[in-house]
Symmetry: C2
Subunit: 598 residues, 2 copies
């Protein structure tokens, strides 16, 4: 794979500099040492390492998934080489404070850099990304001593991190977790329980693994109000920072997945007695923040992970799209429909309108998705007060958009991967081409970190009313700033009108649903609501990108952006009316279905 | 897997007996020895063998794809055991004349029986199904001697068959094939060329393999008008029927696929000189039918194969749906949205409305798809004059519906498999559950036997005007018979009205598109046209099924049928208006896209 097939640097530059004005961020004190030059340098470095050391073993990861030999989990050696290079380049702390050895990059630039690694090799890059999210949680909620002991070695690349939420009997339903944490009277706890779906849960890639584990302290309230958060390291750490005893965290099994095979995914037993730290049963754990407030802390990591899932889904779709475009330009097949002469030379796939349709659909999904994710990264910078926009609303808008940025790319950039296979025809169905792996890898994204359906319940059941509806107001304000501009131009007036119209319909439907006191009814079509909402948001993001293109330019790049925007409005947004009809009518078909009728 | 997870016998019985009146077929002389009892007996036998000998190694097939050791292609032994049992039961000739050892089963019953095998193991069942389609072609177009030499051993289970169309440089574009067939002056030909994507192209499962090969005789017209069809056996056959010399057909490689791994898929070299039959280069071939009329003969097999693809797509979706329903009834997760007590016991997945939505969508796709395929099987019987309906139009209607019956299940029953994974959550993404394999297996169906896009061009560019538009008239006649009945009933009047309305819109759009003399424009959205057409056809098929349910019955089976019909009308057909808007407006977004803009 060449860099050009991983991501489109021209497009990233457009989004960062021409659209989201990354350079303006350097006027904020936190970023004042930075300039377009430093941003570009980190981007160059990221693209280079991603290409040379991550993309090189993406298929090998897929063909050689981690194995357990009874003692240790074995992964192919290229994984460690890649992550070591990532860590040595200081990328693990790219957005962190200088005091932690970080670069203090804006989130916008950092996310754009990280995109290269996920696109090049989603399996290997999961290790550092989980570590970074874990460190961010501890920076926000851990004690100084915890940060010293656990976070610093993560930024040095010596410790890796995980998040341990699900259990075999409780996937999405955290209220039902059973892992218990017994206080030992010395400030530590001993944990007992089983955790499922733990990515990067066991391996020999790092000196230690820092598990962040949800568990219940005996006597705590039932449900999510009784959940606490613990650091449970694979190895205990001595006072001097050296590695101590093995903690009682034991691998119970590896999951064998459809894709995403480069990341170990494990079932872990805590405190089953395989190891006896301090001569005693139970896995030693250290509480993060207050007892019974663990879920709120964990949501810090989960919200970040959800944005990460969105980014992963986007870039898998994006790299698949680039592969499909290249194939369509190289592969000769058939003739134009107006050409009836069988002796004329065949044309390329890209000369067929139906192939252009499939490529344009992909372009509209993956560039729309990337723009959405980077816009949200920009909101994180705005939350720090580094905005050019009305920064007061960045926080509430980010809260509102989190389920969208997670779910929309997981749905539509996966659809892009499906179309990339289709463009390749029979070849795309073979493992000689990468597009089938991209599809399989991406298929995880609508499932983990809260399924697609759960994102819908989160959006309609919680986020739209959060902060007294301020998120919706922020979205409306920004969306209408875009449509007001677009309405002034003859080439965009059509889009402004449809977006304004659908936005008001969406609002009406939202009010209608929120007025229904019966949660079972009002949330019965939350998934469809999520999907309609997502399409409206991405249409706005597309229109805003369009407006960032120089007016009347006939540069091919800008013409492509405009055409993809037109595609999204005419061929995607146009379907949302029918979805809103169903939501508005309160269709009860699914609600009324009885189990015995299946 | 138990029989209940392969297919739903109750539903098959409903479709065959309560809806399509299979028993009425026994009044036709060809089927006069038959009765519901004989039909049921073959169905029982099929379900039994499929369950005991095909389903048992479906996952093993996936995990152990065929290998080539340099000499022979090795497949796991269970494949041969399964196919031998299929052949010994006489199923390979189930629909054939008594004179060939057949059972003279109606197509409707035969297809329903065969559905069990594809659902149980699509990989292993491809061998007999390709053989059956190959035999049918030769019965229709081969000489008496060819039938004697090649077809009879196929019905005896000794010879297997393939179809060899594509070449590495010409997948969908048969006009560009390069394999040449040199006449030898003795009525035989010698073939030279490479064929790609040949399923069942090499193995040791049978005494011989009968390849049906498209090739060009030197001096023939260019393009598809110069294509001839040849029998090219793997082994020549002596005059007495015993196996003779090895013919010059050599395995050049195996394709390694995303799914469908149980079927060998090969690249074959014809006449490369590895073998020298009669001491001479070239693969010996025998022309089927007239020289240069090969494509028309091949379409006999292709049309049958396309219906077969539709059936395969349906039953993979169907078995996935049954697995998802079972899982949703067994797995406890979360609470009702109205239940705020975390100490109340968790409910099952099926108690969540969003899960019911995913299951109901699957039900509407797979039962709609199965009904469509069986309706078409019934048309094949009507073509023989065994109809209860207006049989004159069965032929033209079948021609019209062929691209629909191929493409619609390939799209929507694949979508059902995707939803089956989603219902399973993280477990569905692992190889411990079968649903991920069903998805990967089914992903082939929108690609092979004419891609999805090619089906659209076939429908709009050819089939709708074929026979002077008689197919469209036949469809309208039958559709309006259904809506006329449905309009009389209060519970179905809503569906009748929407179906009539959308049918007339579809007709208007069709006329509009056909009036455009520029093929590049009129066919630019042929895929969207195909999808709109498919949804209209399946809505009609659903409504017709609804009407076959006893009025006012509160039997759970009929209530489920009605609810799934309602789902399809309210939540699927309702989207078609937006698609027809695009077609009617002649949206040029994709047509105008330039290559440089991607």
């Amino acid at each position: 794979m060449s860099q050009e097939l991983i991501l489109n640097r021209r497009d990233l530059d457009f989004m960062m500099y021409e659209w989201l004005d990354a350079e303006a961020l350097t006027s904020h004190p936190r970023f004042s040492d930075h300039s377009r030059e430093t941003f570009d340098a980190v981007m160059d470095l990221s693209a280079q390492i991603a290409n040379d050391l991550f993309a090189n073993h993406n298929r090998k990861n897929d063909l050689n998934e981690p194995t357990f030999d009874g003692e240790k989990v074995q992964v192919i050696p290229e994984v460690k080489t890649a992550i070591d290079a990532f860590n040595e380049a200081g990328l693990v702390a790219a957005a962190q404070d200088y005091e932690y050895g970080g670069m203090q990059l804006p989130a916008l630039v950092e996310k754009a850099c990280m995109a290269w690694f996920k696109a090049a090799n989603v399996g290997s890059s999961a290790y550092p990304f989980l570590t970074m999210a874990n460190a961010n949680l501890l920076l926000a909620h851990g004690s100084k001593a915890q940060i010293e002991t656990w976070v610093k070695p993560m930024f040095e690349g010596r410790f890796f991190g995980t998040m341990c939420l699900s259990e075999p009997q409780a996937g999405s339903s955290l209220a039902d977790i059973r892992t218990r944490a017994e206080p030992q009277g010395d400030g530590t706890y001993r944990l007992h329980g089983n955790k499922m779906w733990i990515s990067a849960g066991d391996h020999e890639l790092s000196e230690n693994i820092v598990h962040l584990v949800l568990a219940k302290v005996p006597g705590s309230p039932p449900g999510v109000k009784g959940i606490s958060l613990f650091i449970v390291p694979r190895w205990l750490v001595n006072e001097d920072g050296t590695r101590g005893e093995r903690n009682d965290v034991a691998l119970a099994g590896l999951n064998h997945k459809m894709g995403y095979r480069g990341t170990t995914n494990t079932l872990l037993n805590f405190g089953e007695g395989k190891f006896q730290p301090g001569g005693q049963g139970g896995a030693v754990g250290y509480c993060v923040g207050e007892v019974n407030k663990g879920l709120a802390c964990m949501f810090h990591m989960m919200n970040e992970a959800r944005v990460g899932v969105g980014m992963g889904a986007v870039v898998l779709g994006y790299t698949g799209y680039l592969h499909a475009v290249e194939y369509a330009k190289e592969r000769f097949q058939g003739r134009r429909l107006t050409d009836k002469d069988p002796q004329s030379p065949p044309v390329r796939l890209i000369d067929h309108t139906d192939v252009k349709r499939m490529l344009l659909a992909q372009k509209s999904y993956v560039e729309g998705g990337l723009a959405l994710v980077l816009y949200c990264a920009r909101l994180l910078d705005e939350k720090r007060g580094a905005g050019v926009c009305d920064e007061d609303d960045a926080d509430v808008l980010m809260d509102l958009l989190t389920p969208i940025v997670k779910s929309w790319p997981s749905q539509w950039c996966l659809a892009a991967n499906d179309l990339a296979i289709q463009v390749h025809g029979g070849y795309g169905y073979t493992r000689d081409y990468q597009v089938e792996q991209f599809y399989r890898d991406n298929r995880l994204n609508p499932i983990h970190e809260g399924t697609h359906g759960i994102q819908g319940l989160d959006l309609l059941g919680r986020r739209v009313r959060q902060h007294g509806g301020a998120g919706m107001q922020a979205l409306q304000r920004r969306l209408q700033m875009t449509t007001a501009k677009a309405a002034q131009r003859s080439d965009t007036a059509e889009f402004a009108a449809s977006l304004d119209a659908i936005w008001f319909r969406l609002q009406d439907v939202t009010q209608l649903l929120l007025r229904n006191p019966n949660a079972e009814e009002s949330l019965s079509d939350a998934t469809l609501y999520l999907e309609a909402f997502g399409h409206v948001v991405v249409a706005w993001i597309w229109l805003d990108q369009y407006l960032a293109c120089p007016e009347n330019s006939d540069d091919a790049f800008y013409l492509g952006k405009r055409q993809a925007c037109q595609y999204f409005f005419r061929r995607e947004l146009s379907q949302v009316d029918a979805w809103l009809d169903l939501l508005g009518d309160g269709d009860r078909t699914c609600l009324d279905m009885s189990e015995g009728w299946f």
